[in-house]
């Protein structure tokens, strides 16, 4: 891979993409809730930086609004709310048991390879930068899913869900230089409402089950 043929902006975007992927791995490895939330905020900040770089380099100024939304929602609002919640429910020190950490890491690495393999046949992706960004965003989405299925705490599942959203926004911003404004606003609105609903659910689950362990949510079965 020859990085010197890329423009400065493309190099920055690729570096940010690599960092975002790296934070996804950090999320998977992290077992403490509070640190997990901080890493998630860091990923949001990286997404914010990517959006800014693209907005200025390609002169797509409507992306500035999208960047502001990312900053407000993913870097401040959601992490702060989650942090408050974790403190209030007094679960911030809880160390989570992850199934088998090394196995999950191997799985994650395999998912990244798979993402690159999946986007390989696309002819229009002969441009190095775009191919990488689409593969990385797909990998972030898949790693978010892995985070959801490998953990038992409802809070971590929400972080996984929002991590997937980060991957999607990254795809929209880095690969296509932003979706039309109205769509971005709609998506941001959905994320905001989802974040609020998640908060409501935490309290409902906590009241009824006395824990935020989703393993306890096993009353309903496919067949009995």
């Amino acid at each position: 891979m020859n990085f010197t043929v890329l423009t400065m902006a493309e190099q920055i975007i690729l570096t940010l993409a690599a960092l975002m992927l790296f934070t996804s791995f950090l999320l998977l490895a992290q077992t403490r809730l509070l640190t997990l939330i901080h890493i998630f905020a860091l990923q949001g900040a990286l997404l914010f930086a990517t959006t800014l770089v693209i907005a200025f380099t390609y002169g797509r100024h409507h992306l500035l609004i999208s960047a502001a939304l990312t900053l407000g929602l993913k870097v401040f609002f959601i992490p702060i709310q989650l942090q408050k919640l974790v403190t209030r429910l007094d679960i911030k020190r809880e160390v989570e048991v992850v199934g088998n950490p090394s196995l999950i890491m191997f799985g994650a690495a395999a998912l990244v390879l798979f993402s690159y393999y999946a986007v390989l046949p696309i002819r229009e992706l002969s441009m190095l930068a775009t191919r990488n960004t689409i593969a990385v965003s797909l990998a972030i989405v898949l790693l978010g899913m892995l985070l959801i299925i490998s953990r038992r705490k409802a809070v971590v599942q929400v972080v996984g869900f929002m991590c997937m959203e980060n991957g999607l926004m990254f795809a929209a911003v880095a690969a296509t230089q932003g979706m039309p404004m109205v769509v971005e606003m709609g998506v941001a609105l959905d994320v905001l409402v989802a974040a609020i609903l998640f908060g409501i659910f935490f309290f409902q689950i906590r009241t009824e089950f006395g824990t935020l362990d989703v393993d306890k949510l096993n009353l309903l079965k496919e067949v009995d």
Binding site: I122, R123, S137, I148, F161, V183, D190, F201
Partner: protein, 488 residues
């Protein structure tokens, strides 16, 4: 044109007003009133489209054609009849203390919010907004599933939220890929997600990107359709939420998600020049059809049982759209109507039956014919209709689907027939003792309004005997749009 905006604005205003309306009787009436008004405007919209053809608003933001207009009409019709049922039903639920006043405000407001998001998903021309609206439909209903605040309902709500949220995220990735393919050939980025524009340029889009996108789209929207193996949220959400919600979830929401998939298939087929997308749909559809039929037998909750029947029918429709010929598509479009009318009628009846017996457990519901004959008959006739027996409309559409399958994939008919008979046995095995069995003590009559059920079943009967020209014309036009050839 005005009818279009009114159809969207009415439920949206309704949602806002009902959020502040705490009086139970007034709220129920107001809810119904908004639904009736929405139905009238959508009828007006349908008449417009019938006489003047497709409508495209300035800036291409909304698009109405034969394919979505009949779904809009169906949506507002079922929304209206379910609102008739909902008012006394929810009053009863409140009187036995299952819901509090705040819960009722949430319920009514979200009922309208849900109808709004579905209508928006149907009417919008922008594929991004389509995604936003379908996700919005999840968000509007997720708190309704956990409305009763029992541990089971909260579990169901959480499952619904997380599974559908994660699933639908895949669809957004697919949409982004489509946009990525579109901006390569279109100068104006703002038009690159407009369905009508994309449809004109469909054959120029990069096929490999589209195929990758379609895989994500079918997984994403397929979660919402309830396709096996992505269906786990569906029976839970249907059985634990309030019954009017089950009726519109099953009757309408599943259709909307399938509508989205078919819209994308229409873009992808010309680009790929083959029916790979169709084959993926056939695989998912057939699997859902067979698995759901088998799972029907093992259910103990009456609403869970009928939600598996919904999965089965959605599987059949997905399969039919997958085959893709004019006859199969015509049958699938017709089946969407008859399934949603029949299924919402059944859920309404089931809601009353559960109130009569004070339980949803199949083992404890007995002797409905003796206690309250109209509910017993409603359940029996509804089940006969949904099982696909003549002379009801489900028979007509299934007959068309089977004929189309015999033409294109003769050996698959065996598995279809097998699935159909398994589901038939499963339904009647449970329904027969519920309707005819000995009446246990302690059952009381409830105030049941069976008019919506009667109207739905009459329409199904009508569609079974003769499909009216107007409807057949619309479906045929939609078939021409989807497959390029009509049936009539």
């Amino acid at each position: 044109m005005n009818a279009l905006y009114l159809t969207l604005l009415l439920p949206l205003t309704g949602a806002v007003i009902l959020a502040f309306c705490g009086h139970m009787r007034i709220a129920g009436r107001l809810n119904l009133l908004v639904c009736i008004a929405t139905f009238i405007t959508s009828l007006q919209l349908a008449v417009d489209v019938f006489f003047n053809g497709s409508i495209l608003t300035p800036l291409n933001f909304f698009y109405v054609d034969a394919f979505n207009v009949y779904l809009v009409l169906l949506n507002s019709f079922v929304g209206m009849t379910t609102a008739i049922f909902s008012s006394p039903y929810m009053a009863h639920e409140q009187s036995i203390g299952k819901v509090k006043a705040g819960g009722m405000r949430l319920y009514h407001s979200m009922y309208q919010g849900f109808l709004f998001t579905m209508l928006l998903a149907l009417l919008t021309n922008n594929l991004g907004i389509l995604w936003v609206a379908v996700e919005g439909a999840t968000l509007a209903t997720v708190l309704l599933v956990s409305l009763y605040r029992t541990p089971e309902s909260i579990e169901a709500g959480w499952k619904y939220f997380l599974l559908c949220g994660v699933g639908i995220a895949q669809a957004l990735f697919g949409t982004t890929l489509i946009y990525f393919a579109a901006v390569q050939i279109m100068p104006d980025n703002n038009q690159a997600l407009m369905w009508s524009v994309l449809y004109e340029h469909a054959s120029e889009l990069e096929p490999t990107v589209l195929l990758l996108a379609f895989v994500f789209l079918i997984v994403g929207y397929g979660t919402k359709i309830g396709l096996v193996p992505l269906h786990n949220w569906l029976p839970d959400a249907h059985s634990e939420g309030p019954t009017p919600m089950s009726a519109i979830l099953s009757g309408l929401l599943l259709n909307i998600a399938l509508y989205a998939v078919v819209r994308f298939k229409m873009l992808i087929d010309p680009a790929l020049g083959s029916n790979i997308a169709g084959h993926i749909m056939m695989g998912f559809g057939l699997l859902s059809f067979l698995v759901a039929g088998l799972l029907l037998h093992r259910q103990r909750d009456i609403k869970r049982m009928f939600s598996y029947s919904s999965i089965e029918h959605m599987g059949l429709i997905t399969f039919a759209f997958g085959i893709g010929g004019p006859l199969a598509t015509f049958g699938a479009l017709l089946h969407m109507i008859v399934h949603s009318l029949t299924k919402s009628a059944i859920f309404i009846t089931v809601g009353h039956a559960a109130q009569v017996c004070q339980t949803q457990s199949i083992d404890k519901i007995r002797g409905l014919l003796k206690t309250q004959p109209e509910i017993g008959w409603g359940l029996l006739i509804g089940t006969v209709a949904i099982a696909g027996l003549p002379p009801f409309g489900v028979f007509t559409s299934e007959f068309l689907l089977f004929s189309a399958t015999i033409k294109s994939f003769p050996w698959l008919v065996i598995s279809l027939l097998f699935g159909l008979s398994v589901a038939f046995a499963g339904l009647f095995r449970h329904v027969q003792p519920m309707v005819f069995g000995e009446c246990p003590t302690g059952q009381v009559k409830v105030k049941a309004n069976m008019w919506p059920v009667a109207v739905h079943l009459c329409i199904i009967l009508w569609l079974g005997i003769a499909v009216p020209d107007v409807l057949a014309g619309w479906i045929d036009q939609a078939t021409i749009m989807i497959t390029g050839k009509g049936v009539l």
